[in-house]
Amino acid sequence: MTRTICALVALFSASAALAQEPTLIRFGRGFAAEEQMWLMSARTDLTPNQGKKYQLKQILFQANPERFQAYLAGELDAGTAPGLAVIFARAQGVDMKIVANICLEAAGPNWFTTTYMVKDDGPIKSVKDLKGGTLGVVGYKTATDLWARAGLINAGLVPDEDTKVFSLGFPAMGDSVRTGKIQAGTFVEPFYSAEVAKGGLRKLFTARDAVGYDHELLDVWFGEKFLKAHPDVVRAFLADYVAVTKYYLANTEQAKRDLAKAGFVRTPVEIYVKNADWKRDPNGRLDVESLKKLATFMQEKLQWLDKPVNVDAMVDQSYLPR
């Protein structure tokens, strides 16, 4: 009898503990430019709500389609993605919303913007000279593809007809340009700094130049069902996220060292801390207008979308701290 009572008490305690367990957020992350997001796992002391109001499990993905497929398969609740990838997903009917900014492609000496480089002593002096050549991007229908096509269109070239747009990994980009396999390549940090240090490459244009305005690069998205089911969890998560972003912007070098120490970054730490960084909004606020312009460009100039996407309906900043 005593044993049965003890077992029941233990069972009740266990289920009560489970009931109090904070909601788990299964978060699909990427491998570049998401520092403040990674810092939430590397420095949990900066996130007072973590462990109390939510638990965070970050899962690494190499590309956006896989991340969205995992979400559709019910394996993720949220994640990071370029704004244009979310526009694509929404166009296909994926129920997700962008809730916060991670970083932007912005003009200015303080910010890094994705750069397209050519051989320093090569014949390509302007984008027009890419006619008949090949331009390397990291994947089709990615942000790097969009900027490359925008740059070509600005120069009066027809992508795929006048200039081939070729998918190539970031690590192979530098040597491919130097050896003439491709005439121009896409460079982001930390590859940009490493290739500039090697020498022999010259800037042709930037993502910001190609599009012509500051715009969203990476954002945080959540599944609509999760947003509806756990609004307070999302608010608590974003409160921590904004706090971490502010810490990161105020203590960038230390934050980068912590990330390197935690294994989120494999670049040698001394190079990593010196790299220029993308612009990040301290409050996680989004530049919605830039997303609208990107969506219009994707539909009208690139024919990447069959019909217009309602950008206002895919963005919800109400969960961010006021």
Binding site: P65, A73, Q92, G93, Y140, K141, T142, F166, K181
Partner: protein
């Protein structure tokens, strides 16, 4: 009796269709169950519509030809070199001693791992895709030919020698016909490998071909288009295999393949 033959013949054709119909029905049920997103599990009608859109445009044929041209390029080169090497290894202990350890030792290496090197050497052209196809197909071609050439009935060879056939003539008139069924078996192993490697290399790095279209469809979250391409690739693989079996039955007329699954 004739009814029996008629029944058996149609049973042979219809039996595999039963499995296909069950698989399609299971897919449609999964798609309509609502358990999974229709973006991941599009209904058959949507896949069919994407398939029609692909085959009804000239671009569909151009892209298919691009992939086939690469696959055939690597496959044909591997067949020629593989048969030659296999024959030499099978009939010469010296050549076998020289090459067998190389082939045995590197058989398990996925040749696609060398793709970045091929890009570096051959650039972004079709040649960088044909090279890994060649290498991947070379192994089954060489090894199967080698073992079949080695196991040719000695009595046949002795008979040819007794009748005054030279070494070269014995190779051409005895060893080659004896190994031909195995060479075709090797070709049937290598042909789908060629198609697979062509598509994978196009998925990794290409601006054309079926593999490129698969990646492009996935990047656009168009699973219906991607699955339509999977159907096209399957049908191409089947058609190529049937063509190869037909050619084999014509050339190796003394040993026809008559089981239903070939």
């Amino acid at each position: 009796m004739s009814w029996q033959i008629f029944r058996t013949k149609y049973e042979i054709i219809l039996r595999p269709l039963v499995v296909i119909i069950i698989a399609l029905a299971a897919w449609e049920l999964a798609a309509r169950s609502g358990l999974w997103s229709p973006i991941l599990f599009p209904p058959l009608a949507k896949i069919g519509s994407a398939l029609w859109a692909f085959v009804s445009r000239p671009e569909g044929f151009t892209q298919s030809w691009t992939t086939l041209y690469r696959a055939f390029g690597g496959f044909a080169a591997a067949a020629a070199v593989g048969v030659l090497l296999g024959m030499l290894m099978g009939r010469s202990a010296f050549v076998a001693g020289l090459l067998d350890p190389v082939f045995s030792g590197t058989y398990a290496v996925p040749k696609l791992a060398l793709f970045p090197i091929f890009i570096f050497v051959f650039g972004l052209s079709s040649l960088s895709k044909i090279a890994p196809i060649f290498l991947q197909c070379l192994y089954p071609m060489t090894i199967i030919t080698y073992h079949s050439a080695r196991s040719v009935d000695r009595v046949l060879l002795w008979s040819a020698q007794n009748m005054g056939a030279s070494r070269w003539r014995a190779l051409l008139c005895v060893v080659l016909p004896a190994t031909l069924p195995y060479i075709f078996a090797a070709l049937r192993v290598a042909l789908p490998v060629a198609l697979i490697v062509a598509i994978i290399t196009e998925m990794i790095s290409s601006v054309d071909g079926l593999g490129y279209l698969v990646t492009y469809s996935l990047s656009s979250l168009r699973t219906d288009r991607m699955l339509a391409l999977v159907v096209v690739i399957s049908l191409l693989g089947l058609a190529l295999d049937r063509a190869l079996v037909a050619l084999r039955n014509r050339l190796v007329y003394w040993e026809k393949l008559d089981t239903y699954y070939v």
